[in-house]
């Protein structure tokens, strides 16, 4: 099988992983030798018609796998065509693509062949060859196998900018059901070990630039959404706990999308893209807006509403917190106003030191007035009585509007 045929199969096999970020790592260049650079900011070199960016060459080393995770296209019981790259083929493909400016680097994952250690060795070998033999200074993201030996995970972290282990499903019960070989406890233990090592390496690097880096862009994970009936509340609780306990950089949510020869235990429907979008918004609220996971959903309604963003939903449950006076409110209160993003909040705080905030100012900052005005007081605006009939009419978004066309904030995460 030639490289082109392998590439087709092994890109097909990799596309269900949402992560493609190339940001947040150390600054490097290749002025002295080698090839490549990183600036800390990621670059998306292309976009496919599914709206996802192409930043890294995202492939599997092989899609042969001894595991049988039901949601996965590469599970042993699936009848997809199989292929296997040699480490050198991956290295050359990465360099060829990089030199033509198609990509920021490599995101390498693999099906489990023979056993976890053997597989991890092969993955690490690709990264080592790129870094040592070719002095590759671009971005490398390695998927880690939780069952692999600690020494191999340590070496992966040495060569990679980011390492990740996918949680895949939000609860241990979901995993037992769909991925019998995976174990949430073991995954989280390994994440804990990696997280500790990342923090140590950071501290060592602050002391001395000669200290060896360890996954300077941190670790991330992915959860599949909609393959099991688990509600958003459990998904967000898992995410929040991952952020807090293991300081993950990112949790990706991937709407379960029908895969070739799927099991009937899985929903054979269009992927729940709006739900995925709401989860990303909620994720942003957890990380940048000071929301606690318990505030985003209620026990009675454990799923995020699809028809409105989660911040608006929270505001509607808490009319007593409004209106917010944009001249006097502290930052954390302003962050909770529907329609105000982090950047606009900071701009307003800067502006209000010098003059009174007006509606014209909000327009200039492109604040969505319809959404925001019922919740704020400005120099020339006072909203209708909170909770009154006029207010209620103003805050309820038309039901169907967003169901099939998520607003642009899906991509920026700014609410």
């Amino acid at each position: 099988m030639d490289v082109a045929a392998k590439l087709s199969i092994l890109a097909d096999a990799a596309k269900y992983d949402a992560s493609c970020a190339s940001s947040g790592t150390e600054k490097r260049n290749s002025r002295d030798k080698g090839i490549g650079s990183t600036t800390g900011a990621g670059i998306c070199h292309s976009y496919t018609p599914d709206g996802r960016c192409v930043s890294l060459l995202k492939i599997l080393l092989t899609n042969y796998c001894i595991y049988d995770c039901l949601y996965c296209i590469n599970r042993i019981s699936s009848d997809v065509p199989r292929a296997r790259f040699t480490p050198d083929e991956v290295v050359n493909l990465t360099l060829d693509f990089y030199k033509r400016n198609y990509i920021e680097g490599l995101f390498l994952s693999s099906g489990i062949i023979r056993n976890p250690d053997y597989t991890m060795e092969q993955v690490v070998k690709v990264a080592r060859t790129l870094r040592e033999t070719h002095q590759f200074r671009g971005y490398i993201h390695l998927k880690t196998i939780p069952e692999a030996a600690p020494a191999l995970i340590a070496e992966a972290g040495r060569w990679a900018d980011r390492i990740s282990i996918n949680v895949e499903l939000p609860t241990p019960e979901d995993l037992d059901k769909l991925a019998p070989e995976k174990n949430l406890g073991r995954i989280r233990t390994t994440m804990g070990v990696i997280g500790t090592r990342i923090q140590e390496a950071k501290a060592e690097r602050r002391e001395s630039r000669k200290a060896e880096p360890f996954a300077p862009a941190g670790q991330s994970t992915q959860m599949i959404v909609g393959a099991t009936p688990t509600p958003d509340r459990a998904i967000l609780e898992q995410a929040s706990s991952l952020y807090k306990e293991h300081r993950l950089r990112r949790v990706y949510y991937s709407a379960f999308s029908p895969i070739p020869s799927a099991s009937s235990a899985l929903p054979l429907v269009a992927p729940p893209l709006v739900r995925e979008h709401r989860l990303y918004q909620a994720d942003w609220l957890l990380r940048f807006y000071g929301f606690d996971v318990q505030e985003l959903t209620t026990a009675a309604e454990p799923d995020l509403p699809l028809g409105m963003d989660p911040k608006l939903a929270w505001a509607l449950r808490h009319p007593e917190k409004f209106p917010v006076d944009l001249h006097t409110a502290p930052r954390e209160t302003m962050l909770r106003v529907p329609g105000l993003g982090v950047r606009n909040v900071d701009r307003l705080i800067s502006v209000r030191r010098w003059h009174r905030v007006t509606l014209a100012d909000l327009t200039r900052l492109r604040v969505p007035l319809k959404k925001t005005l019922p919740f704020v007081v400005t120099a020339d605006h006072q909203p209708a009585t909170i909770g009154g009939a006029r207010w209620n009419a103003a805050v309820r978004p038309p039901r169907q509007m967003e169901l099939f066309a998520p607003e642009p904030s899906v991509f920026s995460g700014q609410l």
């Binding site: 082109a4 018609p49 033509r100 066309a405």
Partner: protein, 471 residues
Amino acid sequence: MLRQATFLPTFAGWQKAARAALLAETPPDSILWQEIGENQPLLDLAEEPEPAQPARSTVKVPKKFVEVATRVACHADPQRWALLYRVLWRITHGEHQLMEIAVDADIHALAQMDKAIRHDVHKMRAFVRFRTIEHEGETWYVAWFEPAHHIVELNAPFFADRFAQMNWSILTPDRCVHWDGKDLTFTEGVPKSEAPLEDAVEPLWQKYYAHIFNPARVKVHAMTKEMPKRYWKNLPEAQLIPELLRKAPTRVNSMMAKSRASAAVDFHPAPVPESDDWAVVKKAACGCTACPLYKTGTQTVFGEGSWKSELVFIGEQPGDSEDLAGKPFVGPAGQLLDRALADAGIDRQLAYVTNAVKHFKWVPSGKRRLHKTPSPREVAACRPWLEAEMRIVKPKVVVCLGSTAAQAVLGPEVRVLRDRGTFRPSAFCEQTFVTVHPSSLLRAPDEAAREEAYRLFIADLKKVAHKMSAV
């Protein structure tokens, strides 16, 4: 009086002219900004006499203004020079904090221009596509790009950092930049026809692009928002977009249809009764359809032996003979196990013998039914039966024969060759032991290897015998 400021249309050129105008206290609405080419003489400033007593000797502005102005100077809008001067004037005439007021009309306009430049710079870094040519015996990477603004010089160091050890050129209609491994040089813009037409690696890149696309989640708006159509003509992969979109619905439909067809091959929880009566459980197991193997196996081969036994052997799955007999370990491997147990001093009659999977999995090979290793999913589907057997027998020692059994009991990390011969706790039993499956002895390449393997197997079984006498 209107003052005409002629200057080179670069940040440095404007800076010089602006400083002179500011020193002369010329208000913004009294200046006409006049761009000139590199070879034209500067008319204005040199000829105008400096005011006898300048109102100020130095111009101090916030660092942020200089940063923004450096970028905005690259904007294509001819009005940028007047805007920059107006902001500079206001900053130096009582509005020192002006840059902080994002909602001010001038600052807002400046921010919009700055944003456009940063966007253009970013998109150039993203969308430049090099093609290789041979030039004087060396490989050169040459790209064609059409920036919206005059950003080539601003952006060149980024490419030099990244591709420092390559020779490359980026050609644009505005400016061209070249890197020979040592220096950046800039030349006049050229037409697209100067750029190479193809590259040997591009078909691979297009293949990758087509295959990383998931047809089940089409979001065209999301794509065009970040990759506007105006860039498409110079992106080799973008040529595939119409075709990918056209075929997406058909691909998804056929994928779903195929899934529905294969959905008959399916798994559901084994119907294990809660009873502790071995016979009741065995009877239920005989009707098990938890995984598809019941369709091809002749019958369920449940565990056998004393269910009051303290010792349990777990194998992989019944083989051809076991499938026909309905009893575990009666074929060639079973006979070998009997012999080995006798040699190790263990009475098989006192043990309970079973398998991780209770149906025979096979593939046809001529007239024979060839053993096939059960998948982890089949093992998982069958595990409730094993759990029930262990619940009833409550063994003091469990021996896993081979990898399938070991992993079913101890989890996927266990390795038979690494972990054989030692006792460890499992969910079923405090003393769980791992050794090879007797069938592996039958597969040994020659007599010597078989004898050696048998010797090791007996050594393992003797440890079990020893443990049995201890517990």
